[in-house]
């Protein structure tokens, strides 16, 4: 009786805030149509094979040794890539947060750079360095057919691509471990090694586990690198699902492979979200503690520094070779300086550049705002279905792009959602694929904002939308900024889902780059990539300017 009256009052209360109620309903509708529905379509379609209907398609797939190898390859690659990326990321994070090595700013910068580049740039670099006419293989060692295609090359490219993700996560984890705990352990007689192994590492363990799972998911979903580097000897699920559809016109088969790919991804996501994340320690509370920069001895410090500089060297090499490649007349054959790659790219690619910018510019603010709105609702409001909203919106992070791409073609090729070939389908895809990072950043920021600040606004007469616009959003500015940057970078560099959705009217730079690679024009691909990264860097500066202007400290509150 009490419960029903409470539910009744919750509903009455919501109905008195129509703006809040309608935004909750709209968000649920959007999540249902653009995240859940496409995935359901993939599953449904996988059962509709003409020669093997129902579950038959799965037994048929699993009987193929090629598919079994794809599954095995994807999983082992995911595990190896996650382990090595996390190890490198941890080393970097530990060096930056716990030692007083020089050039910390530079180390930090170099560890983040790979994040703002297309995810398959690593593969292009690997080809330029180790391929048939590779700088290292053929020029340095005179080896002309080094077997870089396959496991080794792909692992190398993925580690360079994904270790920054581990670095950022683990840097946050290590920063949240109060140095006073380490001081206390040392004070109680622990040696530096014991402090590390008995205090720092155990406290960081949940964060490490979380980073491992995230990179495992990213590696499984990686499409560009395996497409370029894996070769036919090393099939992976994401590429096979794509080839099944574009090469063999077998939609049910591609859909079924997607479902197979979906299972480990979603499992890892659920474990990460509901098990690992709950075990994180928070040891920094309120007062900032001074960092005790004495966690490692001098020799160890310089060893760490050396290793980090080595990794930085590899990153520099990867990017340097792209720039060099873009200006070379013909890579590996005629290294003389030439602008012909740029002339070529600006000729054939002008439309793709314009389209990509338009799509990114449209999807970025929508994705950022939606992310902040969901973070606000999830942290601050109580309403029926809140957990479902949180789960579904975060889930889209764990869905491999290939699966989402196939889902979008299946879901939006007929009325009422006839979107195939339009600008809208690309924009919507980017919005709903890349808003989880905004939600995460928003949730983290909001948890640190005293709720009474927003209560004060409500108390003074502001309704929920006004409070959100005038108080919450400005306070979330840092999270909003990183959400916008992330959404923009991803929209500019996305490939896995987008490759299914591009059309003659709306094309993307990344798809063009991939086409150049596939037709052997590495120089053109490199030039295209340089332009892409240039655009991203300029856009990041612009976004910063706009966010500061719109949400930064103002002394006049306008309504």
């Amino acid at each position: 009786m009490k419960v029903t009256s409470r539910l009744w009052r919750q509903t009455v209360r919501l109905s008195k805030e129509p703006a809040l109620l309608s935004s909750i309903i709209v968000i649920f509708a959007l999540l249902a149509v653009f995240i859940v529905y496409p995935i359901v379509m993939v599953a449904v379609r996988s059962f509709s094979s003409t020669d093997a209907p129902g579950l038959g398609v799965y037994s048929k797939l699993m009987s193929s040794s090629y598919v079994r190898r794809s599954l095995y390859n994807s999983l082992t690659m995911g595990a190896a890539s996650a382990a090595i990326s996390c190890a490198v990321g941890f080393l970097f994070a530990y060096t930056v947060t716990r030692t007083d090595v020089p050039l910390k700013g530079f180390l930090n910068f170099m560890a983040i750079v790979p994040i703002v580049s297309p995810p398959f740039l690593g593969a292009v670099s690997v080809l330029l360095l180790f391929g048939a006419n590779g700088l290292i293989t053929s020029k340095l060692f005179g080896i002309y057919n080094y077997p870089i295609y396959g496991f080794r090359g792909l692992l190398f490219a993925q580690v360079v691509t994904f270790f920054p993700v581990a670095y950022l996560t683990l840097k946050g984890v290590l920063e949240s471990i109060s140095p006073t705990l380490e001081d206390a352990a040392m004070d109680l007689g622990a040696s530096r090694l014991e402090v590390f192994s008995k205090v720092t590492l155990p406290l960081a363990l949940p964060g490490i586990a979380s980073a491992l799972l995230v990179i495992f998911i990213e590696s499984l979903a990686d499409f560009g690198n395996p497409l370029i580097l894996a070769g036919s000897d090393f099939p992976t699920l994401s590429v096979q699902a794509y080839l099944q559809i574009t090469g063999m016109y077998d939609l049910p088969g591609g859909a079924a492979l997607s479902v197979v790919l979906l299972i480990p991804s979603v499992t890892a996501f659920v474990v990460q979200k509901y098990w690992v994340d709950k075990r994180k320690y928070v040891t920094v509370t309120g007062k900032p503690t001074s960092t005790a920069i004495k966690s490692v001895s001098k020799p160890v410090k310089w060893v760490l520094f050396g290793v980090c500089m080595g990794v930085v060297g590899v990153v520099l090499l990867f990017y340097g070779v792209i720039v060099a490649g873009s200006f070379a007349r013909l890579w590996g054959i005629d290294p003389s300086f030439s602008m012909k790659n740029y002339q070529y790219v600006l000729g054939v690619g002008r439309e793709a550049i314009r389209d990509t910018l338009a799509i990114a510019a449209l999807s970025t603010p929508i994705s950022g705002l939606l992310g902040m709105a969901i973070a606000f609702l999830v942290v601050r409001k109580s309403f029926p279905g809140k957990r479902a909203m949180d789960f579904i919106s975060m889930l889209s992070f764990a869905l491999p792009g290939t699966v989402v791409g196939i889902g979008y073609i299946l879901a939006f090729n007929r009325k009422p959602f006839l979107l195939t070939g339009t600008l809208a389908i690309l924009v919507l895809n980017f919005v709903f694929r890349y808003f989880p990072v905004g939600i995460q950043a928003g949730v983290a920021t909001l948890r640190q904002v005293d709720p009474s600040i927003e209560e004060a606004a409500a108390n003074l007469g502001a309704d929920s939308p006004t409070t959100f616009r005038k108080i919450t959003l400005p306070l979330m500015a840092p999270a909003f900024f990183s959400a916008l940057v992330f959404a923009f970078v991803r929209a500019m560099t996305a490939i896995s889902a987008a490759i299914f959705l591009v059309s003659a009217d709306w094309n993307l730079m990344t798809v063009q780059i991939l086409n150049q690679v596939n037709s052997g024009r590495l120089g053109a691909a490199a030039a295209f990539s340089v332009i892409l990264v240039g655009v991203i860097v300029v856009a990041m500066a612009l976004i910063r300017l706009v966010v500061d202007k719109a949400l930064g400290i103002r002394y006049q509150a306008r309504f």
Binding site: R6, R9, K16, S452, E455, L460, D463, R554, A557
Partner: protein, 365 residues
């Protein structure tokens, strides 16, 4: 413009959505009159803050009604209620200047710029922050932020002003100063106010009426002197001030009072205090400052005298505290200006007396 709570009940839920067995606010009914300053006082977890947040609309009661100025506002969200709250953490908007913080509510009501300027500067004057208008909140001290929070709340002329332990983050000196200031401003403007605190000194000095809460219910409501001099039970007696409890029995009635037996000594308690039938066992609430000490060789100038021994002395400058053992029970005495009377020593035999006419009898249940 008063506030009425009718049978308000609130249970909290665990994060899993299960209803907790603990009732945060249990069937609370309370009438706060227009212009009155009422303090909700109680230990932590007694439901006082929840009650305040129910009045503000931040919490929904599971049952019962909330009326402000006679209108039922139970289902209205906080922004649709004519209340203004001063938060424990101040909740100053960090991205707005002092002026804009105070102007926030006026701008929401689309007040004209001239009116905003006029009313905000008047408020800043009232709280003594006129020269700080353009400052950013992070340049203010805790006390100044507190004043901004107060100005921001009262500039909108709310029907009810709500205070959620507003002084608990300030140091002792500033707390006393702000206490007086809040009372001055509240009386000047005549705003109905509800003030939550766990500090009894704050409650005593601020309030027209104090509501003592315990485990979600109202234990007693009354003026500060009623609460202090006529506590309704042991909990109230011990929560507000300190108390000795002395066993006694009612032995008969007399003209204008009842006669009680306190460890073999007879005394009369005036009927104005209370009346119990013969044979009732009572406990006298004896406030420590009413306990008088005399040297063992001098005359005991109190109607109710016992012989005891000093077991503990705490010298505190303006007062001295003594524990006196009287036949195995311990009595606390607080003696003012000890320098004047000379200190007693531990182990010393003393005569202890207290005035029965100010001791309040509680029935022993």
């Amino acid at each position: 413009m008063g506030v009425t709570l009718e049978n308000v009940t609130k249970r909290f839920r665990s994060p899993d959505g299960e209803i907790s067995a603990v009732v945060a606010v249990d069937d609370v009914s309370l009438e706060i009159r227009d212009g009155e300053m009422v303090t909700l006082l109680g230990p932590s977890g007694c439901g006082k803050t929840t009650t305040l947040r129910i009045i503000a609309g931040f919490e929904m009661p599971d049952a019962g009604r909330v009326l402000i100025s006679g209108k039922d506002v139970t289902d209205r969200p906080p922004n649709k209620r004519d209340t203004a709250m001063v938060f424990q953490s101040y909740a100053i908007f960090p991205h707005l200047s002092v002026f804009e913080n105070v102007a926030f509510g006026l701008r929401l009501r689309k007040a004209a710029q001239a009116e905003v300027d006029e009313r905000v500067s008047r408020m800043l004057d009232l709280v003594g922050l006129s020269d700080m208008a353009r400052r950013s909140p992070d340049q203010l001290s805790g006390g100044q932020q507190q004043r901004v929070a107060l100005a921001r709340a009262i500039v909108n002329k709310p029907a009810v002003l709500l205070f959620d332990e507003p002084l608990s983050n300030l140091d002792a000196k500033l707390r006393e100063q702000m206490r007086l200031e809040i009372r001055r401003i509240q009386q000047t403007l005549g705003i109905t106010s509800v003030y939550v605190t766990h500090d009894q000194a704050e409650a005593m000095s601020l309030s027209d009426r104090i509501v003592i809460m315990n485990q979600g219910s109202i234990a007693q409501a009354g003026t500060p002197s009623e609460i202090y001099n006529r506590p309704i039970d042991r909990f109230v007696a011990e929560f507000v001030g300190r108390a000795n409890f002395v066993d006694a029995t009612v032995v008969g009635g007399a003209e204008g009072g009842m006669v009680i037996d306190v460890h073999g000594r007879m005394a009369q308690i005036p009927n104005t205090r209370c009346q119990y039938p013969e044979g009732t066992r009572v406990e006298l609430v004896v406030r420590p400052e009413t306990v008088k000490l005399f040297r063992s060789d001098s005359r005991c100038a109190s109607p109710m005298c016992f012989t005891g021994r000093v077991t503990r002395v705490v010298y505190m400058g303006s007062v001295a505290e003594y524990d006196i053992d009287v036949d195995g029970t311990s009595l606390l005495a607080v003696v003012a200006s000890p320098a004047e009377h000379g200190l007693f020593n531990v182990g010393e035999e003393v005569q202890v007396g207290f005035a029965v006419n100010v001791a309040h009898p509680l029935v022993v249940r």
